[in-house]
């Protein structure tokens, strides 16, 4: 295979307020024609910078390629004068981005932006022809009514639709290389599956190469031929997808793979987690950049950086690759670290749960009315949560899953009475929260705490960590200053933070550490109930595992009841005793965790599970991708709300909303015709 793109010892520097900062060091890899290469790594690894460097987009961000060459079809892009870049950009190589919502100019129509690209690269094409081509492209990427869509503005389309349009735009000039920078990260799993499948098809059809940038090895496994793993600005390993998954040659890759929660993760085992977090570009460690987190670390690692070495057609940059290969799959060092903290005992599964209900929702409905003003023509309500009843038992972890817009977060907020339900009631230990006075309710909050998705937004940036964690104690008037400090320090050590954190500010901490802070605050009052709303969704895989482990530990130690809301199905499965599936405001299925995954009854649940990209290459299959997107909760479909996307919908589904009914022990489903 001839090499389409050859990146040779490229280093990239950025000019910042305090001088140059080297962000990428000595990166080399290549992509052959028709090949899909995945650049994988956590945030901060420099993968996006490399992808932007291919198009020299870093030039506009004060970055420059300080050494090395990037050859596309033999042309060295790194040495090209700026004017000539335009013939490469969009024409030979095209790019799609993480956030389709912000990647389009919001004030021009989709059509205008696509035709602009087409005509930019071929002036001979008339506007009419360009329009025709745009229509074709949209149709090709699976957008219905393309004529109509071309006239619409980016804000009028959904994320999935926009990503399709972005792909159409990128491919409109038939590039030889498509760079896809986290193309599905911002999308729901179901949509992600659709997009990945589309990319796969298009690659073959257009006979192009794809450089895929992702932090999700599951995605990589699904479409990549080869994977290049980056860490702290360097390539540390590259191999074919199968080889990499089968036998990682770098401890980091190994750690990454192991920290992914899979369908098979044993709930009785702690999740694997690489300790620590990725270093910043400004304070890189000497020697091997991974050594502070590495279980294999030796003196040599600390002083000398390992070169990228060939291992029979694949490469790895580690002094201990041979040891790694010799030891087999599981590094004992990780295991030891895991075992040291606590001995996990198998959680009580579905059978024999005590019928001690801690918190109960009774026919809860939450509507957000709009158009209430006197003059509005239409009145209505966004039906975020519709008639949901649910009981969470003391000591259990209840998982709640669903796409964005399914109402799961709203349900959580209503449950904590941060928002009042439109109708229905919430009972906490038998007391109806809605009936309590504000003061009583505040008192009750001691027992119900919450962890948020965004670890950056959920702590006040102007407060010191000590004050943040101590806030619940002050609010509920516990103890004097010294006692409070002691309590806070204890909490910090409980969540694995050093006492030094006490006087520091949130921005000095990484995402994972901040989530620990948030957790410390949540458990400060020893609550009975904890709501974890997407608590790990924003974190990198390695950190995700750390936090999940922490939560499980705390649950056991503090005897917590947890409602775990998430869209990462694997993680939810791992932590939850029972799982509820929500779709468009309705609870469509409840079942014990294992059972739900093994025997999903609702067609939506099935589709969700099928959409999960499994980080095991051999398992790749093209089944069960559901079509379409979740409808607006302001105008839910009649009858069964899922019927518009359901493969098994019948006439009855349109007329009659299905009720939840029990189809197995603790297994409820709201479907007229559940799958076996």
């Amino acid at each position: 295979m001839s090499q389409l793109l050859e990146i040779d010892r490229v280093s990239i520097r950025f000019a910042t307020g305090r001088g140059d900062l080297q962000v990428v060091s000595d990166v080399s890899f290549s992509i052959a024609a028709g090949e899909t290469v995945c650049l994988a790594g956590e945030s901060g690894s420099g993968k996006t910078v490399v992808s932007k460097a291919v198009m020299r987009l870093i030039d506009d961000e004060n970055g420059k390629i300080s050494s090395g060459s990037i050859k596309l079809n033999g042309t060295d892009i790194a040495a090209l004068p700026r004017q000539e870049l335009r013939s490469i950009r969009g024409k030979k190589a095209a790019m799609i981005f993480q956030e389709p919502m912000t990647a389009f100019d919001p004030v021009f129509t989709i059509g205008r932006q696509i035709t602009e690209t087409i005509r930019r690269h071929d002036r001979r094409i008339t506007p009419n022809e360009a329009h025709q081509r745009a229509v074709e492209m949209l149709r090709r990427v699976g957008i219905s009514e393309p004529e109509q869509r071309l006239k619409q503005y980016p804000g009028e389309l959904s994320g999935g639709m926009l990503q399709r349009a972005m792909i159409a735009m990128a491919l409109s000039c038939r590039p030889e290389l498509l760079i896809a920078d986290e193309p599905t990260t911002a999308l729901d799993v179901t949509i992600q599956a659709q997009i990945l499948q589309l990319l796969q098809e298009l690659k073959n059809e257009f006979n192009m190469s794809i450089l895929l940038i992702t932090h999700d090895l599951g995605v990589a496994a699904k479409i990549a031929d080869r994977i290049v793993v980056m860490y702290a600005g360097q390539v540390i390993e590259q191999a074919s997808t199968a080889e990499l998954f089968a036998r990682p040659h770098h401890p980091y890759t190994q750690g990454l793979l192991q920290s992914i929660t899979t369908m098979d993760s044993d709930r009785s085992q702690r999740l694997f987690a690489i300790p620590g977090s990725i270093p910043g570009h400004a304070d890189l460690p000497d020697g091997c950049r991974f050594h502070p987190r590495c279980p294999y670390v030796s003196e040599k690692c600390r002083s000398e950086a390992p070169p990228l070495k060939d291992w029979g057609g694949r490469q790895a940059a580690c002094w201990h690759t041979d040891r790694l290969i010799a030891r087999g799959e599981r590094p004992p060092a990780f295991e030891a670290a895991a075992a040291a903290s606590s001995t996990p005992e198998p959680a009580d599964a579905s059978a024999g749960l005590p019928d001690d209900v801690l918190i109960e929702l009774r026919r809860v409905t939450k509507h957000y009315p709009f158009g209430r003003s006197v003059f509005s023509r239409k009145k209505g309500a966004v039906q975020a949560v519709e008639d949901v009843s649910l009981a969470i038992r003391r000591g259990e972890t209840f998982g709640l899953v669903g796409e964005s817009g399914s109402g799961k977060s709203t349900l959580g907020r209503v449950l904590l009475h941060l928002e009042r339900p439109t109708s229905g009631s919430v009972l906490f230990e038998g007391r109806e929260l809605g009936a309590l006075s504000p003061a009583k309710l505040r008192e009750e909050r001691k027992h119900m705490q919450m962890i948020f998705q965004d670890p950056y937004g959920s702590v006040d940036p102007r407060w010191k960590i000590g004050d943040i964690v101590g806030e619940p104690l002050s609010v509920h008037g516990r103890a004097g200053a010294r006692e409070k400090k002691e309590a806070v320090l204890e909490l910090l050590s409980l969540v694995g933070l050093s006492p030094a954190a006490y006087d520091r500010y949130p921005h000095e901490f990484s995402g994972g550490q901040r989530q620990r802070i948030a957790i410390a605050r949540a458990v400060a009052l020893r609550p009975k109930f904890l709501l974890a709303d997407e608590a790990v969704s924003a974190l990198d895989v390695s950190v995700q595992a750390q936090i999940v482990n922490l939560l499980s530990d705390l649950q056991r130690r503090l005897n917590l009841t947890i409602l775990f809301i998430g869209h990462g199905l694997n993680v939810v499965r791992y932590v939850s005793d029972r799982i509820g599936v929500m779709y468009l405001g309705k609870l469509v299925e409840i079942a014990p965790g294992e059972r739900l995954f093994r025997r999903p009854a609702h067609h939506y649940t099935r589709a969700l599970i099928a959409s999960i990209p499994t980080p095991v290459p051999e398992r790749q299959q093209d089944l069960g991708v559901i079509h379409g997107e979740i409808p607006s909760p302001a105008h839910p479909p009649s009858g069964c709300r899922f019927r518009t996307r359901c493969p098994a919908a019948t006439a009855r589904c349109a007329l009659e909303p299905p009720e939840l009914r029990e189809i197995g022990p603790g297994h409820f489903v709201a479907c007229h015709d559940p799958a076996g």
Partner: protein
């Protein structure tokens, strides 16, 4: 889509270096404009506080035998038609001018911010009523409002302060309200509430402190604007006659001499311009320093 957006912000913020790292070198190395502006403002504040240490002459000393002397070694910036030293006048005038600037911002800013904060935080009909009032005030151009107040209350330092303050109030109210609205919806506010903190304590401890930075920027620039409005009132004949006039009055009173003795009004004019310019530069700098998105770079 909410989840997705937050994921993005999270990632973005993560790359932000710490405050200390990003501000200190910036200030030292590349910010000559801000440094100069800061020096100017500091000097003028020093003038306001201890004019007697800086001015070579008494600002009220009128001597008929030294009128209208051009700038020279004895009188650096010349003398005016009373025979007063222009430089000393400017130094002593700083107190009045800066007082107008700072006091009106304080009065207008604090009351405007309070109004906006109440409006934004309480929402509902309070918000509607307060914002309609602000809308109404906004339809009347600030200078006219100031003119009406100053004309009614008569000339007086506090009246000018009040006039300028009222005129600037709607802007502060609006900014504050917008700010409160955006802060109010941030997760850490919900977090604090979910802990069981009372509304008042959430508002005072979390919402308010996090809403203040744009207001600070505006206040900084507002100090300059107030001085300009004050000088406009002087021009329209509503200024204050004081033994030691403020810069606006000096400029306004001296403008008739522009062709005859340019230094009488030019230097006070330059003092105003320089000060307003400096607080604007500082305001811009503050805006950059306080805006998390700008800090990224």
């Amino acid at each position: 889509m909410r989840e997705a957006a937050s994921v993005k912000t999270a990632w973005r913020t993560k790359r932000t270096p710490t405050t200390l790292q990003r501000t200190v070198p910036k200030i030292v190395v590349a910010r000559w404009m801000s440094l100069t502006a800061g020096a100017v403002v500091l000097f003028l504040i020093a003038c306001a506080l201890v004019p007697q240490w800086i001015a070579p002459y008494s600002p009220t000393d009128m001597q008929a035998d030294r009128i209208l002397l051009p700038p020279g070694s004895a009188y650096w910036l010349g003398t005016d038609y009373f025979g007063r030293d222009v430089f000393s006048l400017i130094v002593y005038g700083a107190r009045e001018s800066l007082f107008i600037g700072f006091a009106s911002v304080l009065v207008g800013g604090v009351s405007g911010a309070l109004l906006g904060a109440l409006s934004g935080y309480l929402g509902g009909w309070v918000d509607s009523v307060l914002m309609r009032i602000v809308d109404v005030i906004m339809t009347i151009p600030g200078v006219l409002l100031a003119l009406a107040v100053a004309a009614g209350l008569g000339p007086g330092l506090w009246n000018i302060v009040l006039a300028v303050a009222i005129a600037s109030l709607p802007n502060y109210a609006r900014i504050m309200r917008g700010q409160i609205l955006s802060v109010k919806s941030r997760p850490f506010i919900t977090a604090s509430r979910s802990i069981g903190a009372s509304e008042l304590s959430v508002f005072v401890k979390h919402v308010l402190p996090n809403s203040l930075s744009p207001l600070l920027v505006m206040a900084c620039i507002g100090v300059g604007t107030s001085i300009l409005t004050g000088s406009g009132l002087s021009f329209l004949g509503l200024g204050v006659l004081k033994e030691i006039p403020d810069w606006g009055a000096l400029l306004s009173q001296g403008r008739g001499y522009l062709t005859v003795a340019w230094w009488i009004c030019t230097f006070p004019g330059m003092a105003i311009t320089l000060f307003v310019l400096s607080v604007n530069v500082i305001g811009d700098e503050l805006r950059d320093a306080l805006d998390p998105r700008k800090r990224r770079e």
